[in-house]
Symmetry: C2
């Protein structure tokens, strides 16, 4: 298969590109290198020393990997370039990772909110528009997020994208329908994935585009089989307050003997998946495309749920660290249950990597190994999350904003 | 009240601005004049001779109207200008009409699709972001569309924005929830209003913005009490295939003795509202704002539903014209029922103008009066609607695209 991996230089895109190449597919990586630019902006960098794209591709060929090509392109800004790229490469499938993916980054300032909306919505809509314009028969696989669902539902496990509901008809009878799961995003970043989902539903219906949307949990882990083959192939490990996931920040804090900072009570439950399972899921999704005319196929791409404070305690126990509670910048319920259906991937052969199995390796082979590269001041998350947390907002409004809402 | 009318030079914005000014509010009009620019692009113009903004405002003062000011600003492109505007004018309310509002125009080409998404999503998100950044306590009233609902539901009247559903919990019990009505837009334009609705839900929840979304039907009628006071105050009357609503095209065709062209079987049922009722609805919405912390308040802004072929026959009967069936460019059900709840506005005092009362005046005082200005070649709608209608798409895919889907 000819596969274009959009955002193929990023944390998920790069190991996915390597995995697909290793399976024998012809892979072309498209990226505008914005993630590296944001490192510069934030004065942060990956704990692991990541090589340039050129060195990554050369390294892959030297270890016997199938050659991949790289095209530098900004999907949101260069629509003619995108159309020309598709016409030249005529991919069978496009895997779309090319979005700004940090919730805290998306909340830092009006400029960051606007960038995230314009970049993510622009990239996705340009891609959809270009697929219609070129008339290519492409399977589009998009990396979405579990965060479109919101957290905590009325005593039910979250289904894979679509929800069965009953509605009262005017004649008093009950009508059963299956609807796109009502969204409840917790940040501007997550909201852009809600917008994506609406765009996908429209283009699948109106233009019969074949689309799979992967509602992914929080990815943990750094290495895949392929990234371990050469130091130049190593993947990113972000631990800063914006791009570091909760688990990576704990690992980093543990590695350097810093207290593990938990937001609020740490009662938030989240969905997780190991990066090795992520690349397998992308493979499985590509091997099981929707038919032309189908609605968007949605998979929940996660394998385990964990409560944040349990994670912190687990990491602390393994590493002899301690846990510290700090105020939560997010506007969210302090505690939530989370049950998620993920049978589609399991039925298609996914064998989950469990947290208990992989955590020690992450601490020893990644966090401790590169600990001397860490900048500890980057670990705390400093983004404010709502208008009510801004300086100068009257207390009465702050109180309203802080009150819990159950939408 | 200090009210900013965004898009206040347009078909709905201008009469709404006049009406609010006439009520004694301080009105400032913001517009980038894009609608006039699109007239140039399409080589079309309003049947009624519309004056420049300057002449409109001068005319309004000369007939004793409260002076209004005009600020030329592109909301989607000039975020710093928008923030500066809000800080300078500190409006109590903002009425947001500033979006590309034609479904056929939004489908004309990839460029038109992308413009509509970028302009509408950009304008709405910039506005929301600016309201948070400035910290102003503004009531935002947005002109949405009935088209977010899609047409035809399972034997039930469309509620005002929110739908009661029952969901099966994991323990077998049934849980009642009220959700945002599942959207099913029929064009890129309508889809942008779906994106708007997701943006509003997020900002109301996260930042406690006070937002009212008016899900409007097709507006008909040209004059309001205020636009009749001076020829310089006259409103637009669009009859071209892109911006002319179905009713205006019928009126125009009737006035010039052209057959009334009905798409498909004309079995599509649509919701309508007279422009005098539209301006009253905006007034009522402004007088009944949501409280801080409320979810988005959604009103269905329509007064009657009509089947398109019934409309055509009604106009033909009044005008001695005839009806002609032509192929439908839209991907939609050929026939649909439509029942809509609109009790909120009725309970708040709206007295609907019925089609049967106003149609003759439209034919005589507008369509026939200005018929010599008409360009008959502009009446047909020529936008193709789906990928399957594009030249060069294989017939097998066209068949899939043409098949009816009930989402």
């Amino acid at each position: 298969m000819k596969i274009a991996v959009l955002g193929g230089d990023g944390f998920c895109g790069w190991p996915a590109a390597l995995h697909l190449s290793d399976l024998g597919h012809d892979v072309v990586i498209v990226d505008n290198l914005s993630r590296r630019g944001i490192d510069e902006e934030l004065g942060a960098e990956s704990l692991t020393p990541i090589a340039s794209v050129e060195d990554r591709l050369a390294g892959w060929e030297e270890v016997g990997g199938r050659p991949m090509t790289f095209v530098r392109l900004d999907l949101a800004q260069d629509y003619p370039g995108l159309v020309a790229f598709l016409r030249e490469h005529t991919p069978d499938a496009v895997v779309h990772f090319a979005e700004q993916r940090s919730a805290p980054y998306s909340m830092k300032s009006p400029g960051h909110k606007r960038y995230t909306v314009e970049n993510n919505t622009g990239a996705t809509h340009n891609l959809l528009c270009a697929l219609v314009e070129t008339g290519l028969d492409v399977h589009l696989v998009h990396l979405g997020t579990m965060g479109v669902y919101g957290y905590g539902t009325a005593g039910m496990a979250i289904p894979e994208g679509y929800l069965d509901v009953e509605i009262a008809a005017d004649d008093g009878s009950r009508v059963e329908q299956q609807i796109l799961y009502p969204s409840n995003p917790g940040s501007i970043y997550h909201m852009t994935k809600v917008l994506d989902q609406q765009l996908f539903a429209y283009y699948a219906k109106n233009d019969a585009l074949r689309i799979t949307d992967l509602h992914q949990g929080i990815v943990w882990g750094t290495h895949t089989d392929q990234t371990l083959r050469d130091e130049r192939l190593i993947n990113r490990f972000d631990y800063d307050g914006d791009y570091g996931t909760v688990l990576n920040r704990f690992l980093m804090q543990a590695a350097v003997g810093y207290p593990l900072t938990v937001h609020g009570t740490g009662g938030q439950t989240r969905a997780f998946i190991h990066i090795r399972d992520m690349v397998r899921c992308v493979q499985i999704a590509l091997e099981n495309p929707p038919a032309t005319g189908d609605r968007v196929k949605i998979f929940n791409q996660m394998t385990q749920t964990h409560r944040v404070r349990d994670l912190a305690e687990l990491v602390a126990r393994i590493s002899d660290g301690e846990v510290e509670l700090v105020p939560n910048p997010r506007h969210e319920a302090p505690e939530n249950e989370l049950h998620v259906h993920n049978e589609t991937f399991l039925d298609l052969g996914l064998e989950p990597t469990l947290l208990e199995e992989g955590l020690l390796m992450e601490i020893e082979d990644v966090a401790r190994r590169y600990a001397d590269r860490a900048d500890l001041e980057k670990i705390p998350c400093t983004s404010t999350w709502t208008r009510q947390q801004q300086p100068g907002v009257p207390a009465s409004r702050a109180a309203v904003g802080a009150a819990e809402r159950t939408a």
